[in-house]
Amino acid sequence: MLGKLLKFDLKSTLRTFIPMWVLIIILSVINSFTINSNDGMIDDSLAAGLVFFALIILIVVVMVVAICLVIQRFYSSLVKDEGYLTFTLPVSTWQIVLSKGISAVLLILANAIVAVCAALIVSTGSGIWEATSVVWNAINFGDTMTLLLYILVLIVFIFQFCNMVFACISIGHMSSKFRVLIALAAYVIISIAFSYLEPVILGGVNDFVSVSLFNVSFSNSNGFVVDSSVGVSAVLLGYYAVRAAIFYFVTTFLLNRRLNLE
């Protein structure tokens, strides 16, 4: 059933994004030609600049639209009239909330991949590609496992962010009036609360993890010294996972027990 919910969710969002992605790729192809046609004409460089500018704007717009759409889809399909269908389907509330979170992550990641593809297309043959690889090597992400860890942190970060928004919408929905305002207030309060808690929690946990687990145990058993950034990423991964679990639980609980559609 989770798969069916995801299919239904993705169908409703992809119809907006596929045309935008196609437009981004077309603009990048045009851009790669204009950047590479180096005949010294001012008009050409102006045109190249404009297309490049349009491409950047489009990527930013698509990212913002993606986040807005994630929020709007959750709001309209769960707590507005569409909720009358969603909550009478023979599925559990936890599956509904999970499907919203997963489809949001997939959508935002797909946008990021399209943006990266656009950048690669634009840079083909122009020397930027070589420059990119120099920068890449300089940053030195380490081995594949480390890179995967970073990507995982990013995914869990997006997932917990979406679930935080879902939790705020659900909190706002508990009231019969000013639902959007209460949801916004909940978002601000939760953000402030976590910004106070973060240094305390992360500081303590980070010291423990980086000293006792990674730098000592790992390096002894595997014979290599783990980069301290791996330790930090692991801590962040755990922290975001806990946040995701809290927000997911709050959303599911409220929608399960306190659902009150207009």
């Binding site: 169908k11 409703s12 569409e82 009358y84 009478t88 023979p90 659902l259």
Partner: protein, 249 residues
């Protein structure tokens, strides 16, 4: 005994209450409805009809009391055997009817897509038409087609004939009568009694969250010597302002 009650009846409510803030919408109602019936849930606006239906279909949690549908508390199983028509349009604007067919086919094993297509064709509704471009009446008919194309144990129809013209009312009632699963029960909530009296087996009268009467239509006619519509007007007659006699005017 309670378990027996829950299993024998399609719907069994015990001490079911719902309060919104300080307002009592349902007041400790006990109710049992059997299988294979068409039951009218009758009462004026604000009597608790929609609240009761929402609790049965799992959209609302009761404040107190218990409810069993086919022996189960509201949940995934009960949602799979209930076909619910809400009092509003739940389509997403971007969808076409064919998209809704796909959703119903995916989620409900008892959805008969061929039947739904035939009903659309007989009404001249195109499956490729966007919901956005449909009139209010067409949307209501499309939703009814989806709901009645399932072979469910329980059909919960919340105000299916409110807000449509008399010709459309006849169409809706005929659709319900011709298409419901005969082993299933249909619970129709309405305050438009005249139109549905002819199809009912049982009537439940709700007033201020209390059940004031629940009996078979034949019994009501025999014992009271009057029809449901007449009885409804008698029970729910509004008290005129300053004690004036409404009937004398």
């Amino acid at each position: 005994m309670e378990e027996y009650m829950a299993n024998q009846n399609l719907i069994a409510c015990k001490g079911l209450s719902k309060t919104y803030g300080g307002t009592v919408a349902l007041n400790a109602i006990d109710l049992s409805i059997g299988k294979g019936k068409i039951v009218g849930l009758l009462g004026p606006n604000g009597s608790g009809k929609t609240t009761l239906i929402k609790i049965i279909c799992g959209l609302l949690s009761a404040s107190e009391g218990e409810v069993y549908i086919d022996g189960n508390e509201p949940g995934r199983y009960t949602k799979s055997v209930i076909s619910y028509l809400p009092d509003r349009n739940y389509f997403a604007d971007w969808m076409k009817i064919s998209d809704m067919f796909a959703v119903f086919k995916d989620f409900y094993k008892d959805f008969d897509i061929e039947k739904a297509r035939a009903m659309c064709a007989s009404l001249g509704i195109s499956e490729k038409q966007r919901i956005k471009s449909m009139s209010k009446g067409t949307k209501e008919k499309a939703q009814l087609i989806l709901v009645m194309s399932r072979k469910s144990k329980l059909y919960l129809l919340d105000e299916p004939i409110a807000g449509v013209d008399p010709a459309a009312r006849d169409f809706i009632l005929d659709t319900i009568l011709r298409n419901y699963n005969e082993e299933g029960t249909v619970l129709i909530s309405t305050h438009l009694i005249t139109d549905i009296e002819r199809v009912l087996d049982e009537a439940i009268f709700l007033q201020n969250g209390n059940i004031v009467m629940h009996d078979s239509v034949d019994n009501i006619r025999a014992s009271r010597g009057k029809g449901i519509d007449e009885l409804f007007r008698e029970i729910f007659r509004a008290q005129p302002y300053e004690g004036g006699d409404y009937n004398a005017r």
